[in-house]
Amino acid sequence: MKQRTIYLINIAAMLGLLIVVAVTVFFPQPYEYQGSLIEPPADSYAFALTKEDGTTYRLQDQQGKVVLIFFGYANCPDVCPTTLSDFKKIQGQLADQADQVEFVFITIDPERDTPQDIENYVSAFDPSFVGLSGSVEELQSVWDGYFVYRAKVESGSEAGYLMDHTARVYVIDQQGNLRLTFPFGMEADAMAADIAQLVDQN
């Protein structure tokens, strides 16, 4: 009787294992995003800002593409260039998917950054990157739309005032929804993998 029980337990355990193996083989795990996934996807704030060449850049016009947005300022030598350099790495890793992705940098320091300044700053990393500025009034609604924190800090630096600012990357999907955010310091490889997944989904 006891031996029979052990025998049955063994059979059950083996069957259980078989089911687990079958499930993992036939129903692969869904992709797990490494950035912060926004579920359900939220409406993104559809801004329109004037570029250095006088044309208007509308987020709405980018539907069908994945758009990465970062907020920073041209006097920033560390965190902002690091992020733009990450954008460049992501673009490289996406290879032939890269034309389905837009990289956008919006200033949080319009007092100093003209559209020309920000365009020069960004295009030094890649000419396809979009740099945007505008009036404080125009930009305020964009900062608010993405819950961007910004504050001027008189630090005594020779550089003049410095800016505290949100250093997150915002990812807008092909339908124009805010889908993901990446914290500062996330590896470019990991961000590229998430973006590749979003591009593949469509």
């Binding site: 006097n75 630096s157 550089a159 250093a167």
Partner: protein, 144 residues
Amino acid sequence: MRRSIYPFTASFVLTIILVGCSSPGELSISQAWARPATAGNNGAVYFMVENPTSQEDALINVRSRVADAAEVHLSIVSESGVVSMEPQETVHFAPDSQVEFAPGGLHVMLIRLNQDLFEGDVVELILEFERAGEIEIMAPIGEP
């Protein structure tokens, strides 16, 4: 003649011994690099400071010919994802320690560059330490 040469030889030998012993144990800078940047903008230089000595040292001044000013800054990213940059008067290096200047942390900020920093070129930077004195480094431009 013999008398005068002997102390000279002795001190010469002693100097060689001292140099031979102290140089591997001195504060040193390695893995330096600078971010490419354009004239008129600001730049950043990163490196590793190694203090293998038994005494604390401090970085008290930085300067470079390529910019109007150079300062040591620390970027701090808060839990809510907000970054702030704070100028540092001095940076201390404990005995037998390593401190990395890296993106998103400590960096030498080059303020108002008077020339473009092109990838492949080098930036000359002078770091002044309280004990180790002035150390000149050549930082290659471009991410390693």
